[in-house]
Symmetry: C2
């Protein structure tokens, strides 16, 4: 088999940890497999480099910042290759430009367009382990680019796709993907198999175990992704096509996300074109609006509420004041709240099971948790609640949907 293994920052955080990585790569190779390793920067290194850059420039979407931060992975690949050789193996490191990981030119958040697998195949053919720098690529002009936080996941899955690898193992510091955050929900269970679609929703909703784009890549190219711990030999979580997911559970997991804040514009005129006028300056400034609700209109005026990333709240407020002052009393009728949490339940089973939303609201109501906003997709229901209820709501939904039980023992719903 051809196995791609990706090790995150904590897995290569020290020279000793790198020796463990080397040991695992070599053990895999000794089982008769071809091994390609993708590594992240040593933990803390990317932040150190960003802090250096910040002293000279506020703009992190900059060609030069990518030149600087991409060195973190460069150091890691060299060291991991040395660690493999120190244990008697053979290894060669590859940087983004050496395997032509070609991306667009969106510095700090570039998207992979193509990869030249040939240099890697050449290395594998001679018995070597190929150690490839994650997180980095080059655009067609040869500028160094980086793929955004967690980008090494995407590097790994994209390389697995380009090489048509049998599996892409994502090694991390947890055992896999859980039905909920085990720090919040004591009964949270490791998920054995999950569909790309569900994993996408979980990643979008704040489960930090995989970068969203890596799941998109996996889904697009059908790469079997195995999320597992670098600290033990346990089976982790397999992310696979929906038809291969073991059981069609109704709800696969529950997430809580505290990264959004709520903005309400009170008593805006309720006529066509107003919403567009409000959201245009936000989208032009790259502020992502997530959930939107609009109250029933009274006397030609309505309240408009939406959520944005917490880090953008000040900027959003200022933009609305200056660009749509006429709609909100020069800014006086803008109310913000950053003490909220988005609680979501995710599962492909929702497609065929009615009543999941109703059961969700019922479970929350029983505990006196007030729902501020609701949004749904085909396989996800999200609610906004006061931040103080985040843990309680997560636990109530987790056990209410039977996620504390083995998948086979869960009652169906609705």
């Amino acid at each position: 088999m051809l196995i791609v293994q990706k090790y995150g920052g904590t897995s290569v955080g020290t020279i000793d940890r790198m020796r463990e990585v080397a040991k695992r790569c070599l053990a895999t190779q000794r089982e008769g497999h071809d091994v390609v390793v993708i590594v992240s920067a040593m933990s803390g290194e990317t932040n150190r480099l960003l802090a250096l850059s910040k002293q000279l420039s506020d703009d992190s979407n900059d060609r030069e910042v990518d030149v600087i931060v991409s060195t973190g992975e460069q150091v890691s690949v060299g060291l991991v290759a040395l660690a493999i050789r120190a244990q008697g193996g053979q290894a060669t490191s590859f940087l983004g430009h050496q395997v032509k990981i070609t991306t667009d030119s969106a510095f700090s958040r570039a998207r992979i367009q193509s990869i030249d697998g040939q240099p890697i195949f050449d290395a594998l053919k001679t018995g070597k382990i190929a150690v490839v720098a994650g997180f980095q690529g080059t655009d067609v002009a040869g500028n160094i680019t980086t793929l955004g936080r967690g980008g090494s996941d995407t590097s790994a899955v994209a390389i697995a796709a380009a090489l048509k690898a049998d599996v892409c193992e994502i090694y991390t510091d947890v055992d896999g993907v859980y039905t909920a955050d085990p720090n919040v929900v004591p009964g949270a269970r490791k998920i054995e198999r999950i569909s790309y679609e569900e994993m996408l929703e979980l990643a979008s909703l704040g489960a930090k175990v995989l970068q969203i784009r890596s799941v998109e890549f996996g889904m697009k190219y059908g790469v079997a992704i195995h999320v597992r711990s670098s600290f033990n030999q346990n089976q982790g979580t397999w992310v696979v096509p929906e038809e291969q997911a073991m059981e069609q559970v109704v709800v696969a997991g529950v997430t809580a996300n505290r990264d959004e804040a709520k903005i309400t514009l009170l008593a805006v005129p309720d006529h066509p074109g107003v919403a567009a006028k409000i959201f245009k300056p936000l989208s032009e400034s790259g502020i992502v609006v997530d959930m939107i609700i609009q109250n029933v209109s009274a006397e030609g005026r309505t309240d408009l509420t939406f959520t944005v990333p917490k880090g953008d709240i000040k900027r959003a407020q200022e933009l609305l004041r200056t660009r749509c002052g006429d709609l909100c009393g020069g800014g006086e009728r803008i109310v913000t709240n950053d003490s909220i949490a988005k609680i979501s339940v995710v599962g492909v089973g929702m497609r065929s099971h009615a009543g999941v939303a109703q059961r969700m609201f019922e479970l929350l109501a029983n505990e006196g948790v007030n729902i501020l906003m609701i949004s749904t997709s085909e396989i996800k229901i999200s609610v906004i609640v006061d931040a103080k209820y985040a843990e309680l709501a997560t636990r109530v939904l987790h056990d209410g949907f039977g996620l504390h039980l083995p998948a086979g023992e869960r009652a169906s719903v609705g």
Copy 2:
């Protein structure tokens, strides 16, 4: 004019120092010049990266070690480019592979073969300052290489040669090249102009201000090199063709080098082929033998003394014991001494002035300094003395040859 400026590790050792570098680059540009900047790693960074590598491999001549240590310069170019922009300028960084600094494949000590100046010219044409990573290149296969300690000097002079720059300014933490180490000789004077040939000898003899290969490049391509301080605006030392050196001084400078050790093989058979047998294993192991003397033979046996780098002394002794044991009593007749210093006087004027050697020996004898070995070249005389005399000998020769006086006031010799 097209001006190449090179800044060493201490000149870019902190973000504040980088701001100073940026200021100087921009001031030069405002005077109407095109500016290309070559930067080293932040001081201490190369050692930090080497220390990381050392934990996994003893071999510093390794492809992967070059991948690791070359990141030091990569971080520097990104930061200096940001610093220039923060002050309102325009800048783009270039890595070795981006300007095709093509070298041989001798990792950790690669030699530059060619450079593609086009991307730099393109940047200059649009009013940008080009910030190029020193110390690094790539071989024809695309592997990253580094040029050895001080390699950024060579990068700078080679780039100046490729671009046909008008001057290559080497910024460092001293004011220029001195007639002797000012820490040892209070009367040491900054040299205003020095020939490539003299500078080559001084660099070979331990003056650390320029990498030897950078001077060779300068000589070969006729690049005017200006060594000066990044901490002030003073004129430094110009390294130029011999005919442009201001005055034909007899002695340009005095150096002391403590990096060698002495090995004596006692009573080796004095017949043809013995010397070859002794030096062959050393040269095969890459140990550079510097000075050699052989005593007059007595009863068919002779003493052979030579110097090697201090760091190689143990290895040399072991090689001689195992490979030429028959010549030196199985190693019993090998005597080593690493408490020596090589004191040298350098000057193109020696070519036309007799008596420099005699005057040198006289000056040392007057102070009771015993000479252990002597070697001469066309423009240099070196003597080995006991290490304890190093400072005394340097001072005596410096002032004895009038180097404490302005060049015009020095008496001729012989």
